[in-house]
Structure formats: structure tokens, C-alpha cells
């Protein structure tokens, strides 16, 4: 052979080997991957959407249910896009312009149905369905919307549903949602219970398998390969009547009120004001409405119950007192002289009562809310011991209440100040202010509600929660929260309770205006606020001798707690004892034995 034929042969041999190795790579090395893709190509899974769980109130009344709605879709590949009469027909039926339809189907993958109009009237659907034979490519889609009982408000408790968009779909592919198979356009809980229990409420999709060709035409029906599992029905702790009363009482004020049954941790009513109307979201909110809600300086979309951090003010003083007692730094009979000011290294810390309380013991210090008494105890305790007891009572920690995006707030330690300001770059006197609940300490209303529950029950409590029963395919079950206890001497808590009783029921008490005839106890507080007027707190429970409810009121920019929050508490508590106390909550007789140890961690039935 001449050398040129050898070069030719070598060159062709090389090409032959390259092609062969490429084929080896595709057909031998990666054939499983491509086989799966081919399988995926040829089969089409039609989602069988499960019914979203229903929501009932405390008395078993249905308050949130589902309603099918219809939307009109076009599959451009089947639709006669060249015929302007087709566009006009549809435009006229749907009362939109032909140009809008053209705009919507422009540039999309022709085999994917495009939604042209949502929430189409059922009568119109019935009419269109008859005509669809003559208009290929036009079809309708059933969508499920939430429908609310007319007397429900509480947007921050229930929450709303939002459509998954291209921007948010990523979130629904990871974490808890990894197995849920969400798709763009599906609605998911975006706030409140709807969001917190999204996975439980939603249930599990089923699938109907079809074999289809490249045009998406069905070649073979392979039947339902998995039946959908409907979502859990939830029975809430909320008393709708009470809830509405609390919301009305709050009126135009900003802030939050939480009422907890201290015997069970059940939240009877919870409000965050200002708020919004959940019904706005049912049919999709307009861009303008959404913008307005989000740019409103009063933040109506912000769930103050679990997300807003306020300084606890004087409501914190019981923790300072208990810490000092537990640490042996004080006894109930420790007397401290208040001259209206506390001096520390040249700094003057004022008592709210400038004339001073004179010689005062612990219980009276609570009752009179004497600042100097607690300045002194706090200085002796130091920041970290104070923080330890605050955390013991659940401040600065997630309570676990079943609302999404709960904030921890902030109970500072020396580490916190060190990392924030640098070591030795902050004043040791900081602790003095923390002792009366001011400074860089932030708590949420629900944390205070839990803290008052603990005091009311002398140390034992169940976390505050919104769900009493959950119902799955097998039946209805109780949701049980473990009874926890705070390891402090019950005697010390009782001392605090006595002080809190006197706050409300004695002439000198700061919370006199929270007085009711059913013997309330509580503590006022004022959260100092550099941005505006003070936030007023009242945190109390009633009846004193056999506590049933804890009430927490925070009024943003409302001024002193004793002036605004205490009377609000009286209003709320009075209503409870007059109208709510006697009602009997829904308790099903045919309970399944197995209980949910807190629903969130309950295993979904596979």
C-alpha cells in the first residue's frame, strides 16, 4: 500500500473509533438515563389533585372549605391560530379582547395549554362545553379555590393560598416539600395555618398515566396508577365569636391580643392588627392591591402574633424576681430602698416613680412595679443568669405555635453584646435595664402568652397551639401536646402570682384598670420605643384562684400599658366570662385511639 492510503485508513479508523465510543457512551454507559427519559417522554402523568383539608372551628363548625372554579384554556397546536373568527368567538364569549388572547398564546410551546381566563362562570362553562367540539383546542380546567364561612376574619390565623410561580417553584422542590411534586400554578398556603400545615392540608397527589405521542395526543390509557390521598381536616381551638369580639375591640389600634386557655394551651382567640381580608386572595389579588398591602407603613401583612419583637417592659419583672430567688440572691422578704433613682458608676437609672417607693419587699415591688428594686436584683444577677431564666420561661425561644415564620426575638447574653459591640466595648450597666425588660431584649406576643400560662399554672404548661383535632382517612384523632414544666420552686411562682393579683386588685396596683369581678391577676408593661410612642403591654390571667385563661395585649404606640392595655384586657376577660366560658367545645365520641404527638411531626400515611 502506498503511504497515502495508509494515512487515509488511519484517519478513517480514527473517525470510526470516535463514533463507536460516542455510541458506547450513549447506549452502554448512559443507557439507563436515556431509557428513563424515553419512558418519561412517552408517558404522561395526569395529576389527580387531592381535596385540600377542611378547617373547622372549636365547635366543629365548617369554616374553610373548597369550591371548584373553572378556567378556559387553549392548546395552541390544536387551536386554529390562523382563523381570526376563532379568536373573535372566544373573545366574545369570555368578554375579553381578541388581542389579549393572541398575546397570551404568543411564543409559548404549542402543546402546553395556556390559561386564557380564570374564574369563568359555571353557566358559561356549560354553554362552552357544548360548543367545544366545533372549536378544537379550547377546553376548560377545574381549579380548587378556598371558600370561607361568612363570619370568619382572622387572616393572620387562617392565612391564604397563593399560586406557585416560576420564581417560587424552587422553594417547593426542596426540604419538607421534596416529595410533594408541586407544579407552577398550583395553590399553596402562603400564611397562617394554611402555610404551617401545608403538607398535611394538601394531601398527596394521585396519578393517572397515559401513553401519548410527541404531539401530546393520547395513544393509550394506562389508568390510575396512584389514587390521591386527601388532606387532613383540622379542628381549630379558635372560638369564632370570641375572635370576632377581640378583633372588634382592637378596632383601629395596632398590635396584638392573644387569649390562651391555660389548662390546655389552646388559643381561643388571636389577633394581629392591622390585617387584611383573606377573601382578597381567593380569586387572585391584583398587583396594585398587593403593592399597597406590602408598602403600607402599618404592615398589615405582618403577623404580629409570632413575628413582632417588642421589649417586654415590666412584664419581665417576675423573671428577674424568680431568678434572684432561685439563685439565692434574694428572699421574698428582701427589702430594698427606692429613692426614685438607682446609681451605678456615675449613671443614674430612674424609677418610673420619681419620688421613690421607699423600703419595699418583693411582692410589693411587683405590685408597684418598682424599677429600682429590679435594677438592684439584675445588677447582682448579671446578664447571663437573667437570660437563663428568661429562656426557661420561653422568651427568646421558638414556642412552636402552629403559625409559620415564628421569630425567636432576642434575649441577650454577654456573648451577644460582645459580638455586637466588641469585647469590653459595652457598659456592664446594660444589665440594669434588662432587669426591667428594657434595652435590647425582644419578645413576641405569643412568647408572653406562654410565659403567663406558665405563671398561671405554677410552672406546668402545654405550648400554645391552634389545632385540637385532625382527621385523616382513618378517622378523627386528638392532637396532644406534652405537658412541660419549668423547674423553679412553685412557692416562688406563687409569690409572683400574689404580686400580680395585687397589681390588678389593689389601689396601688398599676393594673387596676384590668379589674374584673372574676379576680384577674396580671402585670402591665411599657415597651420603650425610640421610633414613636411607647408600646403598652398587659399580660394577665383569670380567675386568680383557678386560672382558665391568659390574656396578652400589646398596643403598638398606645402609650403606657396601664392606660391602654389593661382596660383592653378587662374588656376581653369580661366577654370570656360572660359569653364564652359556658360553651362546650366539640369533642367527638368516636375518637381513634392513636393520638398525634403534636401534628407537625405526625407521619403522613404513605
Amino acid at each position: 500500500m502506498n503511504p497515502r492510503s495508509i494515512i487515509f485508513s488511519i484517519f478513517l479508523g480514527a473517525v470510526w473509533l470516535i463514533l463507536l465510543s460516542r455510541l458506547f457512551y450513549l447506549q452502554v454507559v448512559n443507557s439507563d438515563y436515556f431509557a428513563a427519559r424515553a419512558e418519561n417522554n412517552a408517558t404522561k402523568m395526569i395529576d389527580q389533585i387531592p381535596a385540600r383539608g377542611l378547617i373547622f372551628d372549636r365547635y366543629g363548625k365548617l369554616i374553610v372549605e373548597n369550591q371548584p372554579t373553572f378556567s378556559i384554556q387553549i392548546t395552541p397546536a390544536e387551536f386554529d391560530t390562523n382563523s381570526s373568527s376563532e379568536f373573535e368567538y372566544l373573545a366574545q364569549r369570555l368578554n375579553i379582547s381578541p388581542a389579549e388572547i393572541r398575546r397570551k398564546i404568543k411564543g409559548v410551546w404549542p402543546y402546553t395549554p395556556v390559561t386564557i381566563k380564570e374564574n369563568v362562570d359555571f353557566m358559561l362553562i356549560a354553554k362552552l362545553e357544548e360548543e367545544m367540539v366545533k372549536h378544537p383546542g379550547v377546553h376548560f380546567k377545574v381549579d380548587i379555590h378556598r371558600i370561607y364561612s361568612p363570619d370568619i376574619t382572622m387572616p393572620h390565623v387562617i392565612g391564604y393560598l397563593n399560586q406557585i410561580t416560576e420564581q417560587t417553584i424552587g422553594y417547593f422542590k426542596t426540604g419538607d416539600f421534596a416529595d410533594t411534586d408541586y407544579k407552577i400554578g398550583e395553590r399553596t398556603g402562603a400564611a397562617g395555618i394554611e402555610k404551617f400545615y401545608e403538607i398535611e392540608l394538601r394531601g398527596q397527589k394521585g396519578y393517572h398515566e397515559l401513553q401519548s405521542d410527541s404531539k401530546g395526543r393520547v395513544v393509550k390509557d394506562l389508568g390510575i396508577v396512584k389514587h390521591p390521598t386527601d388532606g387532613y381536616n383540622l379542628y381549630l381551638t379558635i372560638d369564632l365569636e370570641f375572635q370576632r369580639f377581640v378583633e372588634t375591640a382592637m378596632g383601629q389600634n395596632k398590635g396584638s391580643i392573644i387569649v390562651v386557655d391555660v389548662r390546655t394551651g389552646e388559643i381561643l382567640a388571636a389577633t394581629s392588627k392591622p390585617d387584611y381580608n383573606i377573601r382578597w386572595f381567593v380569586e387572585g389579588i391584583s398587583h396594585e392591591q398587593w403593592k399597597e398591602l406590602n408598602e403600607n407603613p402599618d404592615k398589615p401583612m405582618f403577623n404580629r402574633i409570632v413575628q413582632s419583637g417588642y421589649a417586654p417592659g415590666s412584664t419581665f419583672k417576675m423573671i428577674t424576681a424568680i431568678a434572684a430567688l432561685e439563685e439565692g440572691l434574694a428572699t421574698p422578704e428582701t427589702y430594698i430602698e427606692c429613692k426614685g433613682v438607682y446609681l451605678l458608676g456615675g449613671n443614674r437609672f430612674r424609677c418610673w416613680n420619681w419620688t421613690g417607693h421607699g423600703h419595699i419587699n418583693m411582692q410589693n415591688a411587683i405590685t408597684h412595679s418598682c424599677d429600682v428594686y429590679f435594677y438592684t436584683l439584675a445588677w447582682e444577677l448579671g446578664i447571663n443568669k437573667l437570660a437563663k431564666y428568661a429562656r426557661m420561661f420561653g422568651l427568646g425561644e421558638i414556642t412552636g405555635v402552629d403559625l409559620p415564620n415564628e421569630k425567636k426575638g432576642n434575649v441577650p447574653t454577654t456573648d451577644f453584646f460582645d459580638s455586637r459591640y466588641g469585647r469590653n466595648n459595652w457598659k456592664s450597666g446594660t444589665v440594669v435595664n434588662l432587669g426591667i425588660g428594657q434595652g435590647e431584649i425582644l419578645v413576641t406576643p405569643v412568647q408572653i402568652a406562654q410565659y403567663i400560662t406558665i405563671l398561671a399554672n405554677s410552672g406546668k404548661y402545654q405550648q400554645p397551639h391552634f389545632v385540637r383535632y385532625a382527621e385523616d382517612q382513618e378517622g378523627i384523632r386528638k392532637v396532644v401536646y406534652p405537658i412541660k414544666s419549668v423547674p423553679v420552686k412553685p412557692d416562688y411562682i406563687d409569690l409572683m402570682r400574689r404580686g400580680m393579683w395585687a397589681v390588678v386588685n389593689t389601689f396601688e396596683g398599676t393594673g387596676k384598670r384590668a379589674w374584673i369581678k372574676w379576680q384577674a391577676a396580671g402585670k402591665t408593661g411599657t415597651s420603650e420605643n425610640v421610633h414613636g410612642n411607647y408600646h403598652g403591654w398587659f399580660a394577665g390571667f383569670a380567675p386568680y384562684y383557678d386560672p382558665e385563661i391568659a390574656v396578652v395585649v400589646i398596643m403598638e404606640n398606645g402609650g403606657e400599658g396601664s392606660e391602654v392595655a389593661a382596660p383592653m384586657s378587662a374588656t376581653v376577660m369580661n366577654y370570656y366570662f360572660n359569653y364564652i366560658r359556658g360553651k362546650k367545645a366539640f369533642d367527638p365520641s368516636d375518637l381513634k385511639e392513636k393520638q398525634f404527638q403534636s401534628l407537625r411531626n405526625a407521619q403522613l400515611i404513605p
Binding site: 485508513s9 478513517l12 473517525v15 460516542r22 447506549q27 452502554v28 427519559r37 417522554n41 412517552a42
Partner: protein, 417 residues
């Protein structure tokens, strides 16, 4: 006597060429059947049509075998001229299909002059080079070959039919090399293209550019040519390299997009990228032994549009698997290697050059087509010889096969010369 003659004729046939060709045609028909049977009746009709194409093609092939090779040699220039006129005519009067003007309609069938141009250009180049009196390495040979190639290439490109134009163009260099130009000349022709590709491919990296120039300079130095030539080639590379960036930037966005999509089809998810993706899925899903005839879901459910034409290889990949693909490549390998072997021993310049042209044409089409269906080469619309649906292409390939068989049968005659 007639029986005797036929016996002699049959025993003289080169079965290393004929059997692979017929097997490939058979596999092609099988695949076309499989790719169209589940489609519309119009699509199904393609199988019958291809069967008729094949019968006519076989007849054509045997006719070509009977033509004395000298007659082909002598008619080369005339054939070339007629083809060029046909190409001009088709541009002026041909019918438009799939957005290109390529066909003369002949009843239910159609004729593509660009396919004939492949044969005509090839034998015309072979004829001119065989006639050439100058030193085989002389620049005049290069000039003639390129002139003969570029005219039909340009006309076919105008249709537009990039694939066929490339097929016409691919013949020039191998035939010139076979004729006797040096590897150095080929290097001189190729180096500017390489420079541009590296320059654009590396994102105008200055280092890569310098490195390319350095490698080119080294090769030039070791080629021991005259300093003047070395400097000229080197300067050409620098100029081409430097002008590629402003040239690229001067392109409009859609033009850049088109070129990038050409180089990397999967960038484009809906056009050619869709086809390549589906083709890869089909081939990959076939696995080692394939899903069996008419069992491939990609093929039967029509995930590849027009699969019976350019993407026919994906049917083989899916339904016959890696084994089928290896058999196919081996059949082509035997055929092409045989062509080179005969070209090596044939003692006639025209015949030898023609055989190399045929081998090049087949190899190029197989390489580009399979490269395209497996996603390692751009989508150019080059059919797979003997297998893809299409009358004129099949006839062309069978005529080429006829010429090869013709030469192979008579090589003993030439040996005596």
C-alpha cells in the same frame, strides 16, 4: 452464451462492495418502515415510494456498471456543465419545499440536481487532475480543483442546502492529497481556519491565540520551506486571527445566535436542539441490544419529526441498540476500506481519483450524519447514505456504487496496460 456472460459478470462483481451496499439498503428500508408504519397514511406511503426508489436505483447501478469507464471519463466535463445549468435552473424555476428550492417535480417523484452535482463535480475534478500535465504538487492543481468545487457549492448554498454543499466541498482536499499535493499545502489551507476556531472558541483568549501562533510557527519552521513562504503563511494567520473578533462582533445578534446554535444545537431547545435531544434519547434508550423492531417508543410515538430522513440512524440506535449500530458502522467500514484498497491498486489516474472521491463522499456523510444524530456534530441536513429516505440521494449513492463496481470489475484490464 448469454448465461455464460451473466455468469462471468456475476463472478466479476466485487462483493466486498456490493453486499454491504445491499445490506445497508435493506436495513434502511426496514427502518423507514418502522419509522412510518405508525404514522399517517401519507407517511406510510413513503415506504412504498422508497421501495420503488430502490428498485430504480438498482437498475441504475447495473446500467452504470455496464458503461465503459472511458465513456464516463470522457463525458465528465459535459456532465459537469449540464449539472451547473440544472443548478441555475432549479434556482430559477424549481419548486419550493420546506423553505428551500431544490426540486424539479417529476410526477409523484422529484429530482434534486444538487445530488447529481456530487457525482458530476467529483468525476470532473478527477478528469481534470488526471489530464493535468504539471507536477502533482503544483498550485495549478489546487486552483483547478477549488474552482470546479466552488461553483456548484455556491449554487447549492443558494438554495439553500448547506448539507449537500458541504458534501460537494468535502471531496476537494482528499482528492488533491491523493493526487499528490503535500501535507504542507493542506496545512497552509487549514491553519487559518484552525486559528479562527481556537480564537473564537477560547473566547478571544490572548494566551490561546499566542499559543496557536507558536504551534503554527513551529510546524512552519520544521517544514523547512523558504523563509518568504513561512513568513507569508504566518502573517496570514495573524491577520485572520486578529480580524476574527471584530468580524464576529459585527454580526447581528440573530446571526451569532444561528452560528452558535449550529455549533451547539442543544442551545436551541425548540428547533434543531429538540431533534438532537430526542435523537440522543432514542439512541441512548436503545441500550446494548435495542428495543426490537417497531418497539422503540421514541420512534413509534413520533418524538422525532421526519425521522425517516436525516435522523434514520436514531431508529437503528433505538430499535437495534449498540449491536445494530456497530454492525452498521462495520458495513460502512468494509465498504470504504475496500474502496481505498482498490484505489490503491488501480493503475489509472482517473479511476483511482474517482474511487477516493466516492470513499470520501461516503465517509464524510456517515461521519457527519451519525455525529449529528448522536449530538457531537452540528445539524447540517446530511442524509445517511443508502439508509435515509429520499429518491435522488439513494440513486446517487447507488450510481456511485455502480461506478466503483465498474472500476473494480475492470481493474484487471487496467493492470494489463
Amino acid at each position: 452464451m448469454v448465461v455464460e456472460k451473466i455468469k462471468n459478470f456475476l463472478s466479476d462483481l466485487d462483493y466486498f462492495l456490493l453486499i454491504p451496499a445491499l445490506l445497508l439498503c435493506g436495513i434502511g428500508l426496514l427502518c423507514i418502515y418502522s419509522a412510518t408504519v405508525s404514522g399517517s397514511s401519507e407517511l406510510q406511503f413513503n415506504f412504498t415510494k422508497q421501495l420503488i426508489h430502490f428498485a430504480i436505483g438498482l437498475l441504475l447501478m447495473f446500467l452504470v456498471i455496464l458503461i465503459p469507464i472511458r465513456l464516463i471519463d470522457g463525458a465528465a466535463i459535459l456532465l459537469y456543465t449540464i449539472t451547473v445549468i440544472l443548478l441555475i435552473l432549479v434556482l430559477a424555476t424549481g419548486s419550493v419545499r420546506y423553505g428551500a428550492q431544490r426540486w424539479f417535480a417529476l410526477g409523484p417523484f422529484s429530482l434534486q440536481p444538487s445530488e447529481i452535482a456530487k457525482i458530476a463535480t467529483m468525476i470532473c475534478i478527477a478528469r481534470m487532475l488526471a489530464l493535468s500535465r504539471v507536477n502533482p504538487a503544483h498550485v495549478a492543481n489546487i486552483f483547478i480543483t477549488f474552482s470546479l468545487t466552488l461553483i456548484p457549492m455556491f449554487l447549492v448554498m443558494k438554495q439553500p442546502d448547506l448539507g449537500t454543499a458541504l458534501c460537494i466541498g468535502c471531496i476537494a482536499l482528499p482528492i488533491l492529497y491523493w493526487h499528490g499535493i503535500s501535507l504542507f499545502s493542506i496545512f497552509v489551507m487549514f491553519s487559518p481556519i484552525a486559528t479562527v476556531l481556537v480564537h473564537i472558541g477560547s473566547g478571544y483568549s490572548f494566551e490561546a491565540f499566542i499559543l496557536t501562533l507558536f504551534v503554527i510557527l513551529m510546524i512552519l519552521y520544521f517544514s523547512k520551506r523558504k523563509t518568504g513562504i513561512i513568513l507569508a503563511v504566518f502573517a496570514l494567520n495573524i491577520i485572520v486571527g486578529l480580524s476574527s473578533e471584530p468580524l464576529w462582533d459585527s454580526l447581528k445578534d440573530y446571526q451569532k445566535e444561528r452560528i452558535l446554535n449550529f455549533i451547539e444545537p442543544e442551545r436551541d431547545t425548540q428547533g434543531s436542539g429538540y431533534q438532537v435531544r430526542q435523537s440522543k434519547i432514542a439512541i441512548g434508550a436503545g441500550g446494548f441490544s435495542g428495543k426490537g423492531l417497531m418497539e422503540g417508543t421514541q420512534t413509534q410515538l413520533k418524538f422525532l419529526p421526519e425521522q425517516h430522513t436525516d435522523f434514520i440512524f436514531s431508529v437503528i440506535g433505538e430499535e437495534f441498540g449498540f449491536i445494530g449500530a456497530v454492525v452498521l458502522l462495520t458495513l460502512f467500514g468494509i465498504m470504504i476500506f475496500r474502496l481505498i484498497l482498490i484505489a490503491d491498486v488501480v493503475d489509472d489516474k482517473f479511476a483511482s481519483l474517482t474511487l477516493i472521491g466516492i470513499a470520501t463522499l461516503f465517509s464524510f456523510q456517515v461521519m457527519v450524519n451519525i455525529g449529528m444524530t448522536t449530538g457531537i456534530m452540528p445539524v447540517t441536513g446530511i442524509p445517511l447514505p443508502f439508509l435515509s429516505y429520499g429518491g435522488t440521494a439513494l440513486w446517487t449513492n447507488l450510481c456511485l456504487m455502480g461506478i466503483a463496481l465498474n472500476i473494480s470489475m475492470r481493474k484487471k484490464v487496467y493492470d494489463i496496460h
